[in-house]
């Protein structure tokens, strides 16, 4: 489904990586590991369509896709380092606002249900400003279940999450993959996903 060939990137004139190739099928997750500064975020931004590769191509079901391509935008859900929450809005409003931006019809009730799944039932009416880092991360990840996209691109989703939060993330990921979804995940943590569903990519 998702294929990359000869991907290369440079940041500020310094080459980060070159000749990266991978293929991802339905129900598989690509786990990207590597030291700090090895280009994990850059690779994920390429897959999401935010950054142009300096060489190589990205393809979706055989057709090559360009950054900000309409097909790519309709397929992927990207959640980066910054969780994109607005301090002035409540947790619930943040989820509704972001899910609507992705074209999903979401009301306060389903946003509340998604937040409850992430154990944030009591915090859902609080402004994001007063939430802790881990809680903000949970609010940011809550839209995964609401926006139906086949490809999730998650940049270090476990940052600031406690072990209970990581367990919820694993559950959400497993059910996504079991339904035929795909994910590209940059992480420093071992992910508790079935070995058959994982592809590993290590950046030097």
């Amino acid at each position: 489904m998702l294929e990359a060939q000869h991907l290369a990137a440079q940041r500020g004139g310094v080459p980060l990586f070159k000749d990266i190739a991978f293929a991802l099928n339905r129900g598989e997750a690509l786990v990207v590991t590597g030291a700090n500064g090895s280009g994990k975020t850059t690779l994920l931004r390429m897959v999401a369509g935010l950054t142009l590769p300096s060489a190589g191509t990205l393809g979706w079901s055989g057709a090559s896709v360009a950054p900000f391509d309409a097909t790519l935008r309709a397929m992927t859900l990207y959640i980066g380092h910054a969780v994109a929450l607005k301090d002035e809005l409540t947790a619930e409003e943040n989820v509704v606002s972001l899910a609507t931006l992705h074209g999903a019809a979401v009301d306060m009730a389903s946003a509340g249900a998604a937040l409850t799944h992430w154990a944030l039932e009591r915090q859902r009416r609080l402004p994001a400003r007063v939430l802790s880092q881990g809680q903000r991360r949970r609010v940011g990840l809550a839209r995964l279940r609401l926006v139906r996209r086949p490809l999730w691109v998650l940049d270090e989703p476990t940052t600031a999450l406690d072990s209970a939060g990581i367990a919820i993330l694993h559950g959400v990921l497993k059910s996504h993959l079991a339904q035929g979804g795909m994910a590209v995940i940059a992480t420093h943590q071992e992910l508790a996903l079935p070995a058959s569903a994982q592809r590993a990519l290590s950046l030097q």
């Binding site: 339905r26 935008r73 910054a82 035929g180």
Partner: protein, 237 residues
């Protein structure tokens, strides 16, 4: 069969107006929850305008001659001061990435943001201007033309300014650069805007200047969101 098979074919369910409505509604909501910021901008406008009669003295003829220009220059400066609000916060917290990756067309989302910016800065300024115009001895007709010219001109300021704000995203000392980029573009609006009021002051019709302001607004409304969208994509790369 995967449930995503049903998702994949309808690639672009979201339309242009949906995008305009989403970002306008969200930005207005955010603006209403940080009213203090808007109050500061309006007060800035009031204070800058008020400084002139205090500085140049109470000579009625002089004040009437200065009035339209001063009110418009203050409007340009207030607009300039408010421009970083359009994109900077969204750029900082990652929302701008989400906006650029949304299935809604990016120029539509940016149009909504510009609309909300105008409604929260340009509109209050145009509404307040007739009261401030009284300090300069402007009268009935002149005050209404002043408000009308500002109503037509300030959206253009927001539109052109948005392009500058997008171009200076993530640039160090972006504020000064923004002023250098945007103020020259504001010059025609200043000339026709102040010119409209001056025309009424000397008993002529303001129609030509107002028509030109309207034409400028239409041209900017078409072009500026596209240009700002391209600049946002460059800033995110």
């Amino acid at each position: 069969m995967s449930p995503f098979d049903a998702v994949i074919p309808d690639t672009m369910p979201a339309g242009t107006w949906g995008g305009v409505a989403w970002s306008a509604a969200r930005d207005l909501k955010l603006a209403l929850r940080s009213k203090a910021e808007l109050g500061v901008l309006l007060l800035f406008y009031v204070i800058v305008v008020t400084l002139f009669p205090l500085g140049v003295g109470p000579e009625p003829a002089l004040l009437r001659a200065l009035g339209p220009g001063v009110l418009w220059v203050a409007a340009l400066l207030t607009s300039l001061l408010s421009l970083p609000r359009i994109f900077a916060a969204d750029f900082g917290d990652g929302t701008l990435e989400q906006i650029a990756l949304s299935p809604f067309p990016l120029p539509a989302l940016i149009s909504g943001k510009i609309g909300a910016h105008w409604a929260s800065t340009g509109l209050p300024l145009a509404v307040a201007s007739p009261i401030l115009g009284l300090q300069f001895g402007l009268r009935g007709d002149e005050l209404s033309v002043l408000a009308l010219a500002l109503l037509l001109g300030t959206p253009t300021l927001s539109l052109l300014g948005a392009v500058g704000a997008a171009l200076t995203l993530g640039v160090r000392a972006g504020g000064g650069l923004l002023a250098l980029l945007v103020l020259p573009l504001y010059v025609p609006i200043l000339i026709f805007g102040a010119g409209a009021v001056e025309a009424v002051c000397v008993g002529l019709s303001a129609a030509p200047q107002l028509s030109l302001l309207g034409a400028g607004l239409l041209a900017a409304a078409v072009g500026a969101p596209m240009a700002a969208a391209a600049a946002v994509r460059i800033a995110l790369d």
